[in-house]
């Protein structure tokens, strides 16, 4: 399925297990700064915002990349990074409006979520179920359906 990650801010408890699990799966070591998902804690503690690559349709990060290392995979619509080409200039990190791109200061490369090729670890291990891996197209109607039930059920 041609899926994306969707975060539910209310459910997230800020336990950051996803950061640990993502870094273990990708880097073989538990190292949250090198995880592809980041939990940004807003002051006042209530809001914990899981941020990761939203795979935009018109990615700004692809535009600012000086070496074309960020490209949109037409078949799946995912925005993928070619790690060999990446020179670590961090233009994509600062251009992304949604904190979607991390930075690996050890290897000086950008860090992008590639949805673990369809089986995202963060979704599998999130105890609170705050991150879902959903199909891109029908998902909005499910949300509308839930809202409709709330609004109009007799």
């Amino acid at each position: 399925m041609n899926g994306i990650l969707v975060a539910d801010m209310e459910r997230c408890t800020g336990c950051k297990l996803c950061e640990i699990v993502c870094s273990v799966k990708k880097e073989w070591v538990s190292d949250p700064p090198r995880s592809r998902i980041r939990i940004t804690i807003q002051r006042g503690g209530k809001n914990r915002l899981p941020t990761f690559c939203q795979h935009c349709e018109e990615p700004l990060c692809a535009a600012v990349c000086p070496v074309n290392a960020v490209r949109k995979d037409e078949s799946t619509g995912l925005i993928l990074l070619d790690r060999e080409l990446c020179v670590g200039c961090r233009a994509c990190v600062s251009a992304c409006p949604l904190f979607g791109v991390g930075f690996d200061s050890v290897e000086n490369k950008a860090l992008r979520c590639d949805l673990c090729h369809g089986d995202p670890a963060c979704v599998k291990y999130c105890e609170a179920g705050a991150i879902q891996y959903v199909d891109r197209d029908p998902f909005p109607t499910n949300k509308q359906r839930a809202a409709a039930k709330k609004l109009y059920s007799p």
Binding site: A63, S94, P97, F99
Partner: protein, 389 residues
């Protein structure tokens, strides 16, 4: 596709890495001749256009002419070189094209002087320093990267450069390039600096030598005036890239915003419209990121010096791992500069574009509907509200 460059498309931003020998030369190229052939594009390299007749839809070279139905002008920009004596000497490089980068890459010597501290200048200085040259930088204004950073953050970056052995001379003008046929030094209004190579990067101007007087309407900033569809005032002629004037989405003013991603987005739109599509270019988000010795710095929006003193408010937060500098006009966010964690610059673009009254937004309780940008502001909420009084 006609170009005076002898090479297919290469990335100008990455030349500094090539000069510093961090990447091999072929990594600079983004397209190969086969890419053009496969895309059905006839590539005419090293063919400078000498004259243009819009009425007859003709382009003239020194050895021939070319007729067109639709024309997209993407001539880009050329280095601004005022009439300083001695600029014709060997070793004087106005860094713009791959040929200039080759010159710097092959150059041998001990001392290098970089004139101008824009992003290209700073990256060239770092690249040469990386290869062991002793580098001095001369800047006319009072700070490095003057169009990107205000004094506080510019000084942070200046200290960082100086700590790595780059001597920086501010408020200094270059009067003359010294030496015989080869460059031997630079004479400024205060001192003479030894130099085997001079990298001249004080700024760029749109490359409009192709145009004769009055053929195309130019904007106030000197760039070609285009409408939202990147169309010029001439029928069937579009223009895009550094040679074009565009509108800054954040501040709303029009001007020359010669950035790589602006050129690419405008190119895609100008090309599509030339082929009959109806795409519109919304305007430029002028975010610039620069890597100063593997510490990133980024800036977007207006500088504090560009906001009128009465309405100007500034929040400067220093911490062990970086700095954040917010420029506000009363309670609206106008500009963000950051050293270290630069993702905060991108995160705040949305809020800047909204131009909302931050006092109202910050007083409201945080809710899941806030984007990441508001999270940054909430984390400096106390200082901001204090600033607003």
């Amino acid at each position: 596709m006609v170009t005076k460059e002898p090479y297919p498309l290469y990335s100008a931003c990455i030349l500094a890495d090539y000069i510093a020998d961090r990447i091999p030369r072929q990594r600079v190229f983004l397209r190969t001749a086969e890419d053009y052939a496969r895309a059905g594009i006839e590539l005419m390299l090293a063919r400078p256009v000498l004259d243009w007749s819009p009425e007859r839809h003709m382009l003239y070279f020194d050895d021939g002419a070319l007729r067109y139905d639709r024309l997209v002008i993407a001539t880009g920009s050329r280095p601004l070189i005022p009439p300083v004596p001695g600029i014709e000497k060997d070793g004087f490089v106005a860094l713009k094209t791959l040929r200039d980068a080759d010159l710097l890459r092959m150059a041998h010597g001990k001392n290098a002087v970089v004139v101008g501290t824009g992003p290209v200048g700073i990256e060239a200085a770092i690249a040469l320093r990386h290869r062991g040259w002793s580098v001095s930088v001369v800047e006319m204004l009072d700070r490095v990267l003057p169009r990107l950073f205000d004094l506080p953050l510019a000084n942070t970056l200046k200290n960082r450069l100086e700590k790595r052995g780059i001597n920086i001379f501010l408020d200094e003008k270059v009067l003359e390039i010294l030496g015989g046929t080869r460059v031997e030094g630079v004479q400024t209004d205060r001192r003479a600096l030894p130099a085997d190579v001079v990298v001249w990067v004080i700024g760029m101007r749109p490359e409009l030598t192709l145009l004769n007087e009055g053929q195309l309407l130019l904007g106030a900033s000197g760039g070609i005036a285009v409408d939202r569809h990147m169309q010029t005032t001439q029928e069937g002629v579009w223009a895009c890239g550094d040679c074009v004037e565009s509108e800054d989405l954040v501040s709303g003013c029009t001007g020359l915003f010669m950035l790589w991603h602006n050129a690419r987005l405008q190119g895609r739109i100008a090309g599509a419209n030339a082929a009959g599509a109806g795409k519109r270019y919304p305007g430029s988000v002028n975010i610039t990121t620069i890597n100063v010795f593997d510490e990133a710095a980024a800036s977007v929006g207006t500088l504090a010096s560009e906001v009128s003193p009465g309405e100007r408010k500034v929040l400067h937060r220093r911490s062990p791992w970086g700095e954040l500098y917010l420029v506000l006009k009363d309670t609206c966010l106008m500009g963000v500069q950051a050293v270290g964690r630069t993702e905060r610059v991108g995160g705040l673009i949305g809020i800047m574009l909204q131009g909302k009254d931050l006092r109202k937004t910050l007083v409201r309780a945080s809710s899941p509907a806030d984007g990441p940008g508001l999270g940054i502001l909430r984390n400096v909420r106390k200082d901001l509200l204090h600033l607003f009084g």
